[in-house]
């Protein structure tokens, strides 16, 4: 205890003495350790973490800017996986008929992913214009609770609409790229997974640059912090809300499309990604986009440690347990205290 107090008096160290930094430090150390001892943990953490980051960043963006806890986020994942399947199937058939089409082999998966991104964005725009905007015009009382119920309802309708029209069949693929696995840190990793990692990191980089560097991204952050102030500066809230839904939902659909080889399209496929994204967002602090990206990799690390050292069945239990423990000490999440959403003011 005395050493801890003494260390706290060193200004440089004091910054890092907080619970948040300690936990992040431990997570980083485990990752470094796994790079040497069990590289598969690190590789899998990067791959799944990247995708959870995309899901969770969209969720955090929508909550931070619109105060909508989007419980239909998993169905955007479903829409993405279905769109990608629909677009990729004929391409896959063409490749089976004529395996000599090398160029199609390389770029074949991308049209489906792009289509998923666009369809997801379109669904997001429709949700904002047909559901949230009329509700907002009517009343903003109990907004978080009302939009929670609304999105939970949308989720039920979409799941069962899918089941009604397309049935309970699994629509999946075994792989996007039919090539031999490559090696990363000595771990064999399928090209599909490597592609997921590249897509995730690229998307995160583009998305962060958009939020932090562009005029529109700055306007989105402004709306998250003070709607009245944003309007005073001439920012059209409806335009920002529409854009937020387009980006957030498009990202979820892109995740669904990229992971099609792991999660085939079927009615309930969105539930696990939805829950994981919520773990991440709660862990990071509601509405904090950068925190959500960091949190996604922590949750992925916990999941992969669980899978490696216990059994797959525990994959949700252990991370949830750890998150409960962390929240006991830090109720607002890792980054929740520093940056506040609109409704907390």
């Amino acid at each position: 205890m005395t050493t801890a107090t003494n260390l706290r008096q060193v200004p440089f160290l004091r910054r890092f003495m907080s619970f948040t930094w300690l936990t992040l430090g431990v997570a980083a150390l485990v990752m470094v350790w796994s790079a040497f001892a069990q590289p598969s943990i690190l590789v899998n953490t990067l791959v799944t973490g990247g995708m959870w980051a995309i899901m969770a960043a969209g969720l955090a963006l929508i909550f931070g800017i619109m105060n909508v806890p989007n419980f239909a986020h998993g169905e955007l994942f479903l829409i993405g996986s279905f769109t990608a399947f629909t677009v990729f199937s004929p391409i896959q058939d063409a490749l089976r008929d004529d395996p000599s089409l090398t160029w199609l082999k390389v770029i074949g998966p991308f049209p489906g992913m792009l289509a998923a991104l666009l369809v997801g964005a379109l669904v997001g725009v429709l949700l904002e214009n047909l559901l949230f905007r009329p509700l907002r015009r009517r009343s903003r009382e109990q907004w978080v609770m009302n939009t929670f119920l609304l999105t939970a309802g949308v989720s039920v309708v979409l799941i069962n609409g899918y089941r009604l029209t397309l049935g309970n069949n699994f629509r999946g693929i075994s792989h996007y790229w039919d090539v031999r696995p490559i090696e990363l840190l000595g771990v064999p990793i399928s090209v599909d997974r490597a592609a997921v990692l590249v897509i995730a990191l690229g998307t995160i980089a583009l998305f962060s640059a958009f939020l932090l560097r562009t005029r529109t991204g700055r306007a989105m952050r402004a709306v998250a912090q003070d709607e009245t102030g944003a309007q005073m500066a001439g920012i059209d809230l409806n335009r920002i809300f529409t854009l937020t839904m387009a980006v957030g939902c498009g990202l979820a659909a892109l995740a669904g499309a990229s992971l099609l080889f792991l999660f085939p399209s079927f009615p309930d496929v969105g539930l696990q990604p939805l829950y994981t994204a919520w773990f991440v967002v709660i862990l990071a602090g509601l509405g904090n986009v950068q925190g959500a990206i960091a949190g996604a990799f922590i949750v992925a690390l916990l999941q992969n440690l669980t899978i490696t050292y216990t059994a797959v069945g525990w994959v949700d239990v252990v991370p949830t347990g750890v998150i409960i423990l962390i929240l006991l000490f830090k109720p607002s999440g890792f980054f929740g205290s520093g940056v506040k959403g609109v409704w907390e003011q």
Binding site: A219, A222, Q225, T228, A233, G234, K340
Partner: protein, 245 residues
């Protein structure tokens, strides 16, 4: 008491018989006010008289029940706030509505959101930093960590970033220490000397009347007095009710 105004200057803002309020509570009962180009006008009055409501109605945050709000000759009553702002009306609210997790500089950039010309933004930023050197010192500091007086400066600076033709300022002295209040009034004076048209709402009657060209006294949602600063300082009602003489 009515001042004889045969000013050749353009009328920038004109409220005619404005009635407005919140859901079941009507606050303004026929307010008529005007501001000419280059003028420094104040609205004075006790708490609950409807001063802030008047500004909120002008800025587009409240839809008027009846009456008209003409800004630069165009009717803006009921227009959404972001459009009113883009037409050249700056609004510095009582609560400031800054973006606490953004730097001072980013707050200013948001203020210039509607301005597309980068060179123009740089020029206005320089002007704001010249008016408030303190903001330049704290350029990269988060707005949420500024002192009360610095926040007012930032809010006024942000309001100036879109180079508005009229700036509405709501109670800049609210919650400030006397020194900071003085600095804020000095800044408003400097703005006025640069030709910015200002409509100010204040409770600090004595200082305000010495500063402005004209003022309106608002009581229970109606204009009860209007005149130049000197005229109102000499008025017996103002002296009794507001100056304690």
């Amino acid at each position: 008491m009515r001042p004889t105004l045969t000013s050749p200057k353009r009328r920038i803002l004109e409220l005619t018989d404005l009635e407005a309020g919140y859901e079941l509570l009507q606050v303004l009962w026929g307010v008529s006010i005007h501001v000419d180009e280059g003028e420094f006008v104040a609205i004075l009055g006790p708490n609950g008289a409807g001063k802030t409501t008047t500004l909120r109605a002008i800025a587009g945050f409240i839809e008027p029940i009846s009456g008209s709000i003409a800004f630069g000759g165009r009717e803006i009553g009921g227009a959404p706030a972001h459009l009113v702002s883009r037409m050249g009306l700056g609004y510095v609210s009582e609560t400031l509505n800054l973006f606490p997790a953004m730097s001072v500089y980013e707050n200013l950039l948001i203020g210039a959101y509607a301005v597309r010309d980068r060179a123009a933004i740089a020029t206005t930023t320089d002007l704001v930093f010249e008016l408030f050197p303190r903001l330049q010192e704290r350029r990269s500091q988060l707005a949420g960590t500024l002192s009360g007086g610095e926040r007012k400066m930032l809010a006024i600076g942000r309001g100036l970033m879109a180079t508005p033709s009229l700036l509405l300022v709501d109670e800049p002295s609210l919650g400030l220490a006397p020194m900071a209040t003085l600095a804020t009034f000095e800044a408003l004076k400097a703005l006025r000397e640069r030709g910015v048209t200002i409509l100010l709402v204040e409770q600090n009657v004595n200082t305000t009347l010495h500063l402005v060209d004209r003022a309106y006294v608002l009581e229970q949602g109606q204009v009860v007095l209007e005149g130049t600063g000197q005229e109102l300082l000499a008025n017996s009602h103002v002296q009794e009710a507001y100056l304690g003489i």
